[in-house]
């Protein structure tokens, strides 16, 4: 048979690798379905054999996830740029330790990471959950179906399910095969042209970016376990026994998610140039939402476990926390946040799928609240299918001006919102019916009352962050045009919201469950309150915080630390393992002190009122308005070797070093700081990279002291100025020892010396010219090269930007052939321009006590570990009993 001429054979592709990857992608999807179905059936019908099948399916699923992970890594590692993912997110120059970061630059990789963590969690759950295995694993496997579906990459006509990381470059970007050079080489040889990838985002090439995303994702993944236990508890009609395991996993989740969030903050502080660790960026907020609610849920679980109260609220918060994880994923992965975020993600067209995913879990929550009445379940299932079909239709029916389309989309949108809200209300109502307890009133002096209050204040804080972060969603849904809140909008409110939480964190533990001795409580409150008041006063002698609201905040944070330390001391006979709550509360207090001091008392050392208003404005009365002069002058210019005084320091920009490698675009500006009091000195080396794709990327440099950080970053550098061409050319005839000037006469030059040496290209004459421009002097070396055989000559001009001077030898006249006399007359052309100074525009911020933020986080993490160990011990004892 003859091959058709239009079939092109592509040279050098490793298609088998992608096919293998695609095979495992499908396998992981299929085994996730099998596992979910078998787990579900075995729980419902109590069949042991099916649970074995389910387990085997899950093992194969987990293996496939790892296989997909490994294959994708192999593609990146071997620079197989025929695969779109590798081409898009990596490049040949990428070091191996950053290759792992390619996984979280792309959506497919992120979902893969999530699948990976869920598989690990699933395997642990299989081992430790005992009788809960089938019910909880059914939920985990259900999540794996949804997540795997994001990666299978089925194409049904125009409709796409998921996006495969093994798609080929030439399929994703057929336009690349049209580039002219392939006309000569032949399209089949396209890999000879596409020899390097697009590269990883520079901002991700940072060691914190290797560990921050996986930690955050692990936190996100862990949220599924308490959710699964809550669903399982409802399903199996078990009142309270789901609570302790849910609590353990919830604590792990809060600890790890919190660590992941703070790591992100540390990354921002170390490598972004906004000058801080938290900017209330929508993506940061999206990760904060699940943390806040999980922290509240953990406290509710504690109450429920110890008193049997608030089981409804426990269920509700645990389930909401997982919904919020999905919502956060939707926010960050659908591209809806688009503008106004330092993070940015492209929309892969998966937002519809993400929505169905979110709705699917809400449906699961809803079903779990119904008892076994079949008719109700069936009705729900039908209703859910209708919703999914309508969403699908809304993607298929185009939005054009036709009446059908307008009516349909109007109905879908408004109807959808109403149905969604109705489902939520129905869920809460059903859940309440199922889980309400008939216990009497709780005592005002009980621990559970105040712990409940504290959790509600956490929810209050959550509501504010949620409303602000969701504005882009509301804009899209209702066609509003509301701007996204700025950091100040959050800070203003959150400052007050944290206060009741802190007060309750301070005194909460002194209350006993059910009822406490009021006199004892009062005694403790008075002691810790007075100690903290005195401490606040003493500490603020050094902090010097002003403003009543900030001082109250400082006092409360110190109260949290003092009260929890004294609580540990008062119960010193108890074992360390029971101190988890106190330790993590102390850590949180330390963190808040750090947050307060480092932000309220941060000092912009480069703030000044210098500068000339180039565009003075006149107000209505005709007076010159100098308002602009007063604020925001936060950067100063540093000329090379011209030190300036900033706060306690003199800062001197001494030199710059261009990064290693011929094509390096990294510049490190060395700035020497000398403390005028202690004479202590250090160099900071803020970096810039004038990235052809992303513009100027500035990486700050920070000196860490125990009590404060000196943070610098370059906002502009002289290399970014537009280069002015030389002009005012003038030719002078000069001999050694003679002087000459430029056309303007501003620069005076003297020819000092001639060097003569031979190279393989001929004889080279190198002149030493000392130039003086209005007092600034420098030496430059123009060269002239003569090929003795051919007689051809070549001039090698020399220039100096800082002097604005260029010299070029145009011709030579040898007056005396004896080389030792050096009697030669040169005609030298000089050119002039405005001198370009070597300078940087620098911002220097002093952050006092920022180390408390990191220290607090570590203490908090230790507290969580202790609490988790304690809960595991309790669970073991329960199992024995």
């Amino acid at each position: 048979m003859q091959t058709k001429p239009e079939i092109i054979s592509f040279v050098g592709e490793w298609l088998w690798l992608g096919n293998l990857g695609q095979f495992f992608s499908v396998l992981m999807f299929v085994t996730a379905i099998l596992s979910a179905v078998f787990y579900f059936r075995s729980e419902r019908n109590q069949i042991v054999s099916e649970s074995k099948l389910a387990r085997t399916s899950f093992y194969i699923h987990a293996f496939s996830v790892v296989a997909v992970f490994v294959i994708l890594f192999a593609i990146i590692f071997n620079h197989r740029f025929e695969y779109y993912y590798a081409w898009r997110h990596s490049s040949k120059s990428l070091p191996v330790y950053y290759m792992i970061s390619c996984f979280w630059e792309g959506q497919e990789g992120s979902f893969l990471l999530w699948l990976f963590w869920n598989s690990i969690i699933g395997m642990i759950l299989i081992r430790v959950s005992g009788k809960w295995e089938r019910s909880t694993m059914a939920v985990v496997a259900f999540a794996q179906i949804a997540l795997s579906s994001m990666l299978v990459g089925f194409h049904l006509g125009d409709f796409k399910i998921g996006s495969s990381p093994f798609d080929l470059l030439r399929e994703q970007r057929p336009d690349f095969l049209q580039i002219p050079i392939l006309g000569q080489l032949g399209v089949g040889n396209y890999l000879k042209v596409f020899t390097d990838g697009n590269g990883l985002n520079q901002l991700l090439q940072n060691y914190w970016m290797v560990i921050h995303p996986p930690t955050l994702f692990l936190g996100f993944s862990l949220a599924i376990v308490p959710f699964a236990y809550s669903i399982a508890g409802l399903w199996r009609k078990e009142d309270r026994s789901w609570i302790n395991p849910a609590l353990i996993w919830g604590l792990v989740c809060v600890g790890i998610l919190g660590t992941g969030i703070i790591m992100g903050g540390f990354w921002a502080y170390e490598s972004l140039s906004f000058g801080g660790y938290w900017a209330w960026d929508p993506v940061e907020n999206a990760s904060l939402l699940p943390w806040l609610i999980m922290a509240a849920a953990v406290h509710l679980l504690l109450i429920s476990k110890n008193t049997g109260r608030h089981i409804f609220t426990s269920h509700l918060l645990v389930q909401l926390s997982f919904w919020l994880v999905l919502y956060a994923t939707f926010l960050t992965r659908s591209g809806i946040l688009g503008e106004a975020s330092v993070h940015s993600f492209t929309d892969l067209g998966l937002s519809g799928q993400l929505l169905i995913f979110l709705l699917g879990f809400i449906y699961l929550s809803l079903v779990s609240t119904f008892s076994s009445e079949k008719s109700q379940n069936n009705m729900l299932t039908i209703a859910f299918i209708v919703v999914v079909v309508v969403i699908g239709l809304s993607y298929i029916i185009p939005t054009d001006k036709s009446t059908l389309s307008t009516v349909f989309h109007g109905v879908v949108k408004n109807g959808g919102i109403i149905v969604f809200l109705a489902i939520i209300v129905l869920f809460i109502f059903r859940l309440y019916k199922r889980t309400k307890t008939a216990l009497g009133d709780e005592h005002l002096s009980s621990r559970e009352f105040w712990m409940f209050m504290g959790s509600m204040f956490l929810i209050l804080s959550l509501i504010q962050v949620f409303s602000g972060t969701s504005i882009p969603v509301f804009n899209k849904l209702f066609g509003y045009k509301t701007g996204i809140p700025v950091a100040a909008d959050y800070n203003r409110v959150q400052l007050w919201m944290a206060m009741p939480i802190m007060a309750l964190m301070a005194i909460g533990q002194y209350f006993s469950y059910r009822e406490s001795d009021k006199k004892l409580i009062l005694k403790h409150v008075i002691i810790t309150f007075s100690v903290s008041l005195i401490l606040t006063f003493l500490i603020n002698l050094s902090f010097k915080i002003e403003g009543v609201n900030f001082i109250i905040f400082l006092f409360l944070a110190i109260w949290v630390i003092v009260a929890n330390l004294l609580y540990v001391r008062s119960s010193a006979k108890s074992k360390v393992i029971t101190w988890g709550a106190s330790i993590s509360h102390v850590g949180f207090g330390v963190l808040l002190v750090g947050v307060l001091v480092s932000s309220v008392n941060q000092k912009i050392l480069t703030r000044s009122n210098e500068g000339i208003d180039m565009a003075p404005e006149t107000n209505e009365k005709g007076q010159t308005d100098t308002k602009g002069m007063a604020f925001n002058r936060e950067n100063r210019i540093l000329y090379k070797n011209k030190p300036i005084t900033v706060g306690n320091y003199t800062a001197n920009y001494t030199h710059k070093i261009v990064g290693a490698g011929k094509d390096s675009i990294d510049k490190y500006f060395h700035v020497l700081f000398v403390n005028s009091q202690t004479k202590d000195s250090f160099y900071l080396t803020p970096k810039t990279q004038n990235n052809p794709k992303m513009g100027l990327l500035a990486e700050p440099s920070t000196k860490h002291y125990l009590s404060n950080d000196v943070f610098t970053h370059v906002n502009y550098e002289s290399g970014m100025d537009k280069v002015e061409p030389y002009s005012g050319f003038k030719t002078s005839e000069v001999k050694v020892g003679e002087s000459f000037t430029t056309e303007s006469g501003k620069t005076k030059m003297t020819l000092r010396d001639i060097e003569r040496f031979s190279s393989n290209l001929g004889v080279v004459l190198r002149l030493t010219v000392v130039a003086d421009r209005l007092g600034d002097t420098t030496t430059i070396y123009p060269e002239f090269r003569i090929n003795q055989e051919s007689g051809a000559f070549e001039s090698n001009p020399a220039d100096n930007n800082e002097l604005g001077l260029m010299l070029m030898i145009q011709n030579i006249k040898i007056l005396d052939p004896d080389p030792s006399k050096q009697n030669i007359e040169f005609s030298i052309q000089s050119g002039e321009k405005t001198p370009v100074k070597d300078y940087i525009v620098l911002k220097i911020i002093q952050f006092p006590w920022i180390n408390l933020v990191w220290a607090g986080t570590i203490i908090m993490l230790i507290g969580f570990c202790v609490a988790v160990l304690n809960r595991i011990k309790i669970q073991r004892n329960l199992a024995k009993a």
Binding site: F194, G199, E339, Q464, T482, G483, N632, Y716
Partner: protein, 134 residues
Amino acid sequence: MKPLHIALLIIASLGVAAVVSLYGNTTQIVSFNGADSLAKENPNKEYHIYCKLNKAKPVQYDPQIDPNLLIFSAIDSLGTERMVKYLKPKPQDLERAEKMLIIGKSEGQYFHAETIFSKCPSKYEDTPVNATNK
């Protein structure tokens, strides 16, 4: 009423207050002319404007005169042109931004930008920059 219910009511009302205060403080995304007319009612409020750089006019930034002053001309989505004054160094990717969000006040001849977010097309889009025959 039980104390728990009273406390919950208080918290719920605080929640409503927080949300109302947040939305009360957020501003509308407007045009330059919109910002002008709104500024007459509420001169201290900042507005969000989507616009793009007017490349026909020079971007004025000379750090040797003032490192904290940038003046440029911008065109909003309705086509209105306006001079923008920004008392900070020039954002890294101003010239290459295809669209930007500026937040600030309209005062006198200038729009005083407090914050500029620029969105670069090249940042996340694929360009075959490496497609060179080596």
